[in-house]
């Protein structure tokens, strides 16, 4: 099966090591089981077959170490410090501050029983490792490196490893952040570049370690060349809402392009803002995207397991063929019947 492509968000396969849960950006879980409820903001841009994933780790004070594991749809070609204002600029674009005149924007397959370390880098107080391996192997690696995985981690790791055996582990050293004079609230943006056929955003992982009724909230900004098709549909009742869906403004694109590492931003694009407001039990899916606007993969959306063929096109074709055959047979039988005398 061809892997769902594009990448993902979700900072969350996360479990902290040691004592004080000090930071977090979405879905991180403390060693005492406490769940951090901060809203996660993630930007996923897609252009020329490459996904650009930008998110931020926020220093919230305290000490110790903790981290996160994020499933990726492919091997990243680069992991670097993200720009300074991309996420904030997107929030401003979709949630303009009323009554305030905005100042001009300042310039500015999986079953593998071993783990392969593909990339290691350090960004501020973050130690980042890109891993390739099956769910159990990645879980074992994470445990050996001080991550405290919650009870649902084995199943969730397998769920993602069956789709793509690539994970990004980020270990955050709060003591190092303090030593760097990082202040509470300071974020460390991370920009991951992943060549892939379609964007993919893992959402289910945001529920990792949470109780069924625990709330999960997140914003995903999606910038594509044209209006994309997404799966599951943003119905609201499933916890997914399409809060913004229109052509990206020239000023937004210019501002994004002027941020560090964002020169790839095209001259035209479509901006979608997806809001996740639900509970952990409901969030059983990921966000599959088809940038051509056709049919996103049900496997990528987590609605089917890999290996079970995406039934939509094939099953419908077979059904249509069967119905056509039945009609032809019925017509023939009708013609054969002798006319009443």
């Amino acid at each position: 099966m061809r892997r769902p492509v594009a990448f993902a968000m979700a900072l969350a396969l996360s479990m902290l090591t040691f004592a004080v849960p000090a930071f977090a950006c979405g879905g991180l879980i403390g060693p005492n089981g406490a769940v951090n409820l901060l809203r996660t903001t993630t930007f996923v841009g897609y252009h020329d077959g490459v996904e650009h994933y930008v998110t931020a780790f926020q220093f919230a004070g305290g000490g110790g170490k903790f981290g996160s594991l994020t499933p990726l749809p492919g091997v990243p070609s680069n992991v670097e410090k993200g720009g300074s204002w991309t996420l904030q600029r997107l929030i401003r674009e979709t949630q303009p501050i009323k009554g305030v005149i905005a100042a001009p924007f300042a310039a500015r397959n999986t079953a593998q029983d071993s783990v392969e370390v593909l990339l290691e880098t350090k960004i501020d107080a973050l130690d980042i490792t890109v891993l390739k391996g099956g769910g159990a192997a990645v879980g074992e690696w994470a445990t050996a490196h001080g991550f405290r995985l919650p009870a649902d981690a084995p199943e969730v790791l397998d769920f993602y490893a069956e789709r793509s055996p690539i994970f990004l582990a980020a270990a955050f050293d709060a003591d190092a952040a303090t030593a760097r004079n990082q202040r509470i609230g300071d974020g460390t943006p991370v920009h991951i570049t992943i060549p892939t056929a379609n964007p993919w955003v893992p959402l289910r992982i945001l529920a990792l370690g949470k109780q069924a009724n625990d709330p999960v909230t997140a914003d995903v900004y999606l910038l594509t060349d044209r209006k994309p098709a997404i799966l599951p549909l943003a119905r609201g009742a499933n916890g997914l809402t399409l809060a913004y869906d229109q052509g990206a403004s020239k000023t937004l694109l210019a501002d994004l392009r002027s941020d560090a590492g964002m020169s790839w931003v095209p001259a035209n694009g479509w901006l979608s803002q997806l809001r996740i407001d639900t509970n952990a039990a409901t969030l059983s899916y990921d966000l599959a995207v088809d940038v051509q606007g056709h049919s996103p993969s049900r496997v990528a959306a987590g609605l089917e397991t890999p290996g079970s063929a995406d039934p939509t096109p094939l099953a419908l074709t077979l059904l249509a063929a069967a119905m056509a055959a039945l009609i032809v047979i019925a017509i023939r039988e009708q013609k054969r019947r002798p006319l009443p005398a």
Binding site: G33, G139, T143
Partner: protein
């Protein structure tokens, strides 16, 4: 009269043939769930439990009454290794323990690592 005698004889034979509760029990842990949530064992004889942890995270198999479990819900022991009824099973490993339940009793077994009991790592053990 004959029918009654036959019934009693049949009942006696059936009783003699009833399968004995096992003295060796295997429990697997997968996706943070025990493979069985009810175990019947004989009282008064040693029973060997072999616990396979198929998960890449650590688990526990702690068997006892509710008072014991209440203590462990707020306990601080990182690892249980000194008591046969309190077993820590490291990731992807196997542990064996032997217990004798002197009289018929009903106990619970659980994992008390944070969040694991709530996730469903609970079972009932009946010594008969």
């Amino acid at each position: 009269m004959k029918a009654a005698l036959l019934f009693l004889l049949g009942a006696a034979v059936a009783g003699a043939c009833a399968p004995a509760a096992p003295r060796a029990v295997e429990i697997r842990i997968h996706y943070s769930h025990y493979s069985t949530t009810q175990i019947d064992v004989p009282a008064g004889v040693p029973v060997t439990f072999t616990i396979y942890n198929d998960d890449p995270i650590e688990h526990e198999w702690m068997v006892g009454d509710m008072a014991m479990h209440e203590r462990h819900r707020t306990g601080t022991e990182a690892v249980h290794a000194s008591r046969p009824d309190e077993i820590t099973i490291p990731a992807l490993s196997i542990r064996t323990t032997t217990l004798t339940f002197p009289t018929p009793m009903t106990l619970m077994y659980m994992c008390h690592l944070p969040g694991h009991e709530q996730y469903g790592m609970v079972g009932v053990l009946m010594a008969k």
